[in-house]
């Protein structure tokens, strides 16, 4: 795409030659020649960061590893050039690539635990990253290692160097991975969702570190993420990918302020805000899978602005506004307000409680992980449980539903005066039916050997005596309430997307007509547009059926849009509780303030320090 080149060049206003220049990168499946990525072009100047955004299956990770001249097994890079400095990475042979990786271009994987060798101490791993490309005398080597650790804000102590990866926290692991990536001062560093598994506070620190290092070393960076807010924090320019192509590319602030491609606009409308509750507008449908890309614009099927011509040919990436490249023939007009703030329906406040927890303490293999938890869920309302990983929020959920049985205290369901028993096996069938649990990972919570409808029938089989046809009818009815019709009934879960599976999990919980739903991070594995749909759906169901929910999450923005009350957990203790408006509007505890402050925000780039 020459358009991309000239566009990006114009944005750089010809100050200097961009450090990294990718032209027309295309990746496809080796045997079937099904395209995975097509015509991706961009350029990055030294010291700048390009954010690469897209949902699952958009090809962003394929592009990311393509920058290292690598294609996942079964894929091949068909064409394109990746010029970094004076080297064309894609023209190198295997030996050349080995020399280039780490020295010219380096990679930080999403899961730091996967990037570090669990069998070696950190010191040798850091040293190896340097000695792989440079021959340094011992003192100089140690100096470099110390320097590296300091640059990622880790103390250069013996203790860290002598630790194994599992002995340090996830955030520290990711810092080490970043240190290794920067070890030989590469010209380009590729970060593949480096903060996805981390807490907001850790994420904030890591983002700052990356920003700092890229600037100090004057290296270019590519930051791949599905998290728009994180990209807004760190990237100077952002490219949005959809179905293997870049659909919009612009300086980050401009992109998020005035998105021109309907897909970008849709993504932004899906993102919840921690400041105020508004109805989330998701994007219906799902991205086409490689091999099923429709002719013309791949987004046309889901696009509210689609014209008949959209399906005729793939639109070109053209400069719609200065520095903003858009692949759309009917782009969103600049004056359109992207803020469609619809008020959120709020369930009426009632005195009766659906679930009350009194003085709950829980142990995990001898260690106390929850201290004196008090929690009330008013009838028909949602109480959010917020905390970082390790705060005990999942343990709390498992205590409630009886999957974790070493706890004391009282859990009162509905108007019962007697506490539930500890283990699920000891509870009455009625108690078990009334409270249903939805798991975090939609890929693990459905039985993959059963069809969707069989999965939904499973609880009915246990809780109700029904004829086979009636059981199926009820299961299909439940699937319909989550907008998955009978058409999905006989599908295997493995053939569905994450969002669809999570809806099946919701249907499976609703089919036995519970009064309380315990949702454990149910949106955290989902893309933002899918999350929006699920949150809206849950709220509608709640209003319709007077459901009460315990909504466990680390995402404060989601809390704002779905919950009325919340508690904040830190290391197993409640540090703050109250109505969502009160807690998020005027946080009292320093921990809550910290959480809110560290939350990446889409608006971050507007007054960014990096705008040159």
């Amino acid at each position: 795409m020459s358009a991309a080149d000239s566009g990006a060049g114009a944005a750089a206003s010809g100050r200097r030659r961009p450090e990294v220049e990718v032209t027309d990168l295309a990746v496809r499946v080796e045997r079937t020649e099904v395209p995975i990525v097509e015509g991706v072009s961009f350029s990055i100047e030294a010291g700048k960061t390009l954010g690469l955004v897209g949902e699952s299956g958009s090809g962003k990770s394929t592009v990311a590893v393509g920058l290292l001249g690598y294609a996942r097994r079964g894929l091949e890079i068909v064409s394109g050039t990746v010029r970094i400095g004076d080297t064309d990475i894609l023209a190198l042979d295997q030996k050349g690539l080995r020399g280039a990786r780490g020295r010219i271009v380096s990679y930080v994987p999403q899961d730091p635990a996967a990037g570090l060798n669990p069998a070696h101490r950190l010191g040798p791993q850091l040293r190896e990253a340097i000695t792989a490309h440079e021959d340094l005398p011992k003192e100089q080597l140690e100096e470099r290692v110390t320097e590296l650790l300091e640059s990622v804000d880790l103390p250069p102590t013996k203790r860290i160097l002598r630790s194994y990866p599992h002995q340090i926290s996830g955030g520290q692991q990711q810092r080490i991975a970043i240190a290794i990536a920067f070890a030989c001062r590469p010209r380009l560093i590729v970060l593949d969702e480096p903060t996805t598994g981390l807490d907001v506070t850790t994420q904030r620190h890591i983002l700052a570190t990356i920003d700092e290092l890229a600037r100090v070393h004057d290296a270019a960076a590519v930051y791949v993420s599905h998290d728009l807010a994180a990209v807004a924090e760190v990237a100077t320019d952002t490219a949005v990918m959809y179905a293997g192509r870049i659909v919009e590319q612009a300086p980050t602030a401009r992109l998020f302020a005035t998105p021109r491609h309907p897909y970008t606009a849709g993504l932004l409308a899906s993102a919840p805000s921690a400041e105020e509750a508004h109805r989330l507008v998701g994007i219906e449908g799902h991205p086409p899978r490689p091999g099923n890309w429709p002719g013309g614009c791949a987004y046309a099927d889901r696009c509210p602005r689609a014209l008949p011509e959209c399906r005729a040919a793939v639109p070109k990436l053209v400069e719609e506004s200065p520095g903003q490249l858009v692949r759309c023939i009917n782009p969103v007009p600049t004056e359109a307000t992207s803020e469609v703030n619809l008020a959120v329906p709020v369930p009426a406040a009632v005195a009766a409680s659906a679930l009350a927890v009194r003085g709950l303490v829980a142990d995990y293999s001898g260690t106390r992980v929850l201290h004196d938890i008090e929690l009330t869920v008013p009838l028909g309302q949602t109480t959010a449980v917020v905390g970082e990983s390790g705060s005990g929020k999942t343990t709390l959920a498992r205590c409630l539903v009886g999957l974790h049985s070493s706890w004391q205290g009282e859990v009162l369901l509905g108007d019962r005066t007697e506490s539930l028993r500890q283990a699920a096996a000891a509870r009455s069938s009625e108690e078990l039916r009334e409270m249903q649990y939805i798991f975090q990972n939609p890929f693990g919570s459905l039985n993959p050997t059963m069809t969707v409808v069989e999965n939904v029938e499973e609880p009915l089989r246990h809780f109700k005596r029904l004829s086979r046809s009636e059981r199926r009818a009820r299961a299909i009815e439940a699937l319909e309430t989550v907008s998955l019709g009978a058409a999905f009934a006989d599908t295997m879960p493995g053939r569905m997307s994450g969002g669809e599976r999570q809806r099946v999990a919701v249907a499976r919980a609703l089919v036995v007509e519970p009064s309380v739903l315990v949702c454990d991070e149910i949106t955290s594995a989902l893309d933002v547009s899918v999350q929006a749909l699920l949150v809206e759906q849950l709220r509608d169901l709640q209003m319709e059926r007077n459901l009460s929910m315990v909504f466990i999450t680390h995402n404060l923005a989601v809390v704002r849009s779905i919950a009325q009350n919340m508690i904040v957990l830190q290391q197993g203790r409640i540090v703050e509780q109250g109505s969502v408006d009160a807690v998020l509007g005027n946080p009292q505890h320093p921990y809550t303030r910290q959480l809110l402050e560290d939350l990446p925000r889409l608006e971050a780039r507007a007054g960014s320090r990096q705008v040159a």
Binding site: S58, G74, P448, M450, A487, A525
Partner: protein, 329 residues
């Protein structure tokens, strides 16, 4: 994916077991779509066909025709004569079904014993796990051939004892593999979800754990069958399995090895058949394992986890794998 992605070969919600049967069927069909599976099944069927249909066409396997180790094409038939002048062809045709039946029975015993032990050990954990798995370790420590030889030489040579002995030596391997797989499945959220409804463990194992173990189970079946065949044939060769003058592929190799120079077919014909069978069943079991890979995330829960992990991790669908497999079919 959308509704049209529904696999046409899965008709759901029949009997409760439809899922299991459907899944086994899907695996077999998947295996047969690959070249490896087709060749494997063909080789297996050829040998099985010879073994079970052979007796219908065979002459008297113990009748004497001319001198020992007569060259092929003479009185003793197309494959010549054996050490006593009996027809090699007749004996090859007649000598397969016993060894196959005995091996099949031993395999069945190994699979049932081993999978029960493995799944129970995995799901119950704790003391039961320790007892079962340490027993398995002890059994694994004894060389299988030596163990069966000892058993046969103490009790005497009986077909049922060969089955029991071979079954016992194969069961620990099955237990090992299935315990690992079952342990993995027992930790899955969908098994936990069922436990959170208060469903009793036996039902959880039957409805949710075992169906997820179908792949390792089928692979083990084929693998154990070929091991059993080799073991049973070795026993016959050593003179502790089927007794002369009954025709048996293992016995034949033993009897005729002294005459290799005169009539090579006395050894070669049964050896080729045994080798073909071993290769065939191995290829087929391999194809099943691969078919499971290619049935994509829907297939193996283990694979599904791996893929979904990468899915969440990379934020990209594992299109590569699926697309490759579609290409190879």
């Amino acid at each position: 994916m959308s509704a049209n992605a529904t696999t046409p070969d899965v008709i759901a919600a029949k009997a409760p077991r439809a899922g299991v049967g459907g899944r086994a069927g899907r695996l077999l069909r998947g295996a047969l779509r690959t070249r490896r599976g087709q060749i494997g099944l063909l080789l297996t069927l050829v040998v099985v066909g010879i073994a079970f249909l052979g007796p219908l066409f065979a002459g008297n396997p113990t009748a004497l025709h001319g001198g020992p180790f007569e060259a092929p094409g003479g009185q003793a038939g197309a494959l010549g004569g054996d050490s006593l002048g009996r027809s090699v062809l007749d004996r090859v045709l007649d000598g397969g079904w016993r060894i196959l039946l005995i091996s099949a029975a031993a395999t069945a015993m190994a699979i049932v014993l081993g999978s029960v032990a493995g799944v129970v050990a995995a799901y119950r954990g704790g003391f039961a796990d320790t007892v079962i798995m340490r027993t398995v370790d002890v059994l694994l420590g004894i060389p299988s051939l030596v163990f069966v030889l000892m058993l046969l030489s103490v009790v005497g040579s009986h077909a049922w004892l060969v089955i029991v002995g071979v079954g016992l030596t194969q069961a620990p391997q099955v237990a090992r593999v299935l315990r690992a797989a079952a342990q993995d499945v027992s930790e899955r959220d969908y098994v936990k979800a069922v436990a959170a409804w208060g469903v009793p463990p036996r039902t959880v194992i039957r409805r949710h754990v075992i169906p997820s173990l179908l792949t390792p189970l089928m692979v083990e079946c084929a693998l154990r069958l070929s091991f059993s065949i080799i073991l049973v044939a070795s026993l016959s060769f050593l003179g502790l399995g089927t007794q002369p003058p009954t025709a048996d592929w293992g016995v034949m190799i033993n009897e005729n090895r002294v005459g290799l120079a005169q009539n090579v077919w006395g050894v070669l014909a049964p050896a080729i058949l045994l080798a073909t069978l071993a290769v065939g069943t191995n290829m087929f079991s391999d194809a099943i394992a691969r078919a499971n890979l290619s049935s994509g995330p829907a297939g193996d829960p283990t694979l599904q986890m791996a893929l979904s992990a990468s899915n969440v991790a990379e934020g990209d669908e594992p299109v590569g794998l699926e697309a490759i497999d579609e290409g190879s079919q």
